[in-house]
Amino acid sequence: MDWYPLFNSLRIAAISTFIIFFLGIFAAYYVAKLPRLVKGVLDVVLTLPLVLPPTVVGYFLLRLLGPKRVLGMWFLEVFDLRLTMVWYAAIFASAVVAFPLMYRTARGAFESFDMTLAHAARTLGRSNTWIFWRVMLPCCKQGIIAGTVLAFARALGEYGATAMIAGYTPGKTATISTTVYQLWRTGDDAGAMKWVLVNLAISAVVLLCVNMLEKKDRRPRRKAAPVSGEVE
């Protein structure tokens, strides 16, 4: 059995999750600080890929990155680089589709962050950058990990936009999801079944990881104050 689709899917999901991780966190951090009106508009724009059909996302991406379109043409001329129908084209698709998951979970975590911690650090002389990396991110760790795992899972399962922008070329742009469709379409039921099982296994492992992380965080906390208070 040719394992290329598995390798390709994992590599696409990993790279797009890496990109989304930083983009999502910084978008969440800065959007939370914006005035209400701008915040509302930006929030809609950044969340839109979550509710749009992937084919619509694919259409927009093709309009932008296609060889005869603005960005696609520029990359082709300057770098001699095609942005569609190559394996890394799927990165754009899965990154755009999975981005809102990271952005929204990170924003939720930042919004529930106790700002007095930041105020305290500032009065103690610490810079805003220090506060962000050393207090805010660690305190929001759970939300950010949850967002990352969700984004990874979504990126791994991306089909619609990927099929449009990267297509299906065996050994080149084939991912698990496009392979399943292709094999089923051509009547190779047993082949499709194999990939379905692979996909199931990966998803189960991811969800198991999430559950284990949550359990680790729910380890029993010591009761805060014994009755005598100061005795310890």
Partner: protein, 352 residues
């Protein structure tokens, strides 16, 4: 070291309008009901919030001046802020929390060790804040602030997050620590007993407006304004009107009183503390006939609510507090005559 504050800020529901001065070695209480702008005042001094107008000056260092467009960031103000919930970083151990305050890397380790010892936090260094009791958390927060070598200390209701059985001990500890601190200290609270025990001077805040800074004794013995009198815990207050011959007509109590001293300009209320009111045998000056409405037995005293000639509702009532034995002698008297000793009458004006 002298801290002078004069700030104005529109907070929508009310306007913050605070001005006071305080010196080294002084603990100044900011006393006021919840939501009167106490915490906001501290946040402005620390630089977390920006006042609309005004000046905050620490000795010759201008922290904030709206006219000169000076607004130092909190990092540069050297103002230590003890938050109500202590704001310890949950992801760091006690030692790491304290180290955050120490700015100088070279002496960081020594500073942490020294403060751990002074604040009795030995054996706690490796614990996380959630593993500590409320009193210990407060000590960590204080150690962290002292590590940053502040020039001013701001304490925001430091005992409100503690259980009552812990409060007394923590208060004593804090009082010792504060006496070792050389700069000005501002202590925010709504509890007059804490002010009485910890502060040397007090500034009453009412609906965002500050009144003049008074020595603590003066506030409790001779409050001059209605809000100061209420905050000092006085339960008997009546609307009042000065009469032409220098007497005071207590409108709610239905009696005219002779304070025996000049009346302040703009007299609007009079007050009388419950434990200064004397039961007497019969009529006379500054006496009024009352009727017992309710008797509440405390552990060591008896509180009696009485209706006055002015009525039996709300402010018309008088409240007296007597020792247990004393009350049994008076039971059954109707009317019960009460004397309001002129020297103890509090003559009050409306706030500015």
């Amino acid at each position: 070291m002298n801290l002078s504050v004069d700030i104005h800020k529109d907070l929508g529901t009310f306007k913050l309008d605070v001005s006071f001065e305080t010196d080294s070695g002084q603990i100044t209480g900011l006393l006021g009901a919840s939501g009167c702008g106490k915490s906001m005042t501290l946040r402005c001094i620390a630089g977390i919030e920006k006042p609309d107008r005004g000046r905050i000056v620490l000795d010759d260092k201008v922290l904030f001046d709206s006219e000169q467009h000076i607004d130092l960031p909190p990092q540069k103000r050297r103002v230590g802020y003890l938050f109500q919930n202590y704001a310890l970083f949950p992801n760091m151990t006690v030692a790491q929390n304290i180290a955050v305050g120490a700015r100088d890397k070279k002496v960081r380790q020594e500073t942490v060790e020294r403060l751990v010892r002074t604040l009795y936090l030995d054996d706690q260094e490796k614990k996380y804040p959630r593993q500590l009791s409320g009193g210990q958390q407060q000590r960590v927060a204080l150690a962290r602030i002292l590590a940053s070598a502040p020039e001013v200390l701001l304490l925001d209701e430091p005992f409100s997050a503690l259980d009552s059985y812990l409060k007394w001990q923590v208060e004593l500890e804090l009082s010792d620590l504060l006496s070792a601190f050389s700069g000005p200290v501002i202590f925010v609270t709504h509890n007059r007993d804490e002010v009485q025990r910890l502060c040397q001077q007090v500034c009453v805040l009412d609906q965002g407006r500050s009144q003049s800074v008074l020595p603590v004794k003066e506030l409790f013995e001779a409050p001059r304004t209605l809000s100061a009198c209420l905050l000092s815990g006085c339960k008997n207050i009546s609307r009042a009107r000065a009469t032409a011959d220098g007497k005071v007509e207590a409108l709610d109590w239905g009696v005219t009183l002779e304070p025996g001293r000049p009346l302040p300009e703009g007299l609007s209320h009079i007050g009388m503390r419950a434990h200064y009111i004397r039961p007497v045998d019969g009529p006379g000056p500054n006496r009024l006939p009352c009727k017992v409405e309710r008797v509440v037995e405390n552990v060591f005293s008896t509180v009696v609510m009485l209706s006055t000639p002015g009525g039996s509702q709300g402010f018309s009532r008088l409240r007296i507090e007597l020792e247990k034995g004393r009350w049994s002698e008076l039971t059954g008297k109707d009317p019960l005559w009460l004397e309001l000793p002129p020297g103890d009458l509090l003559l009050l004006t409306q706030d500015r």
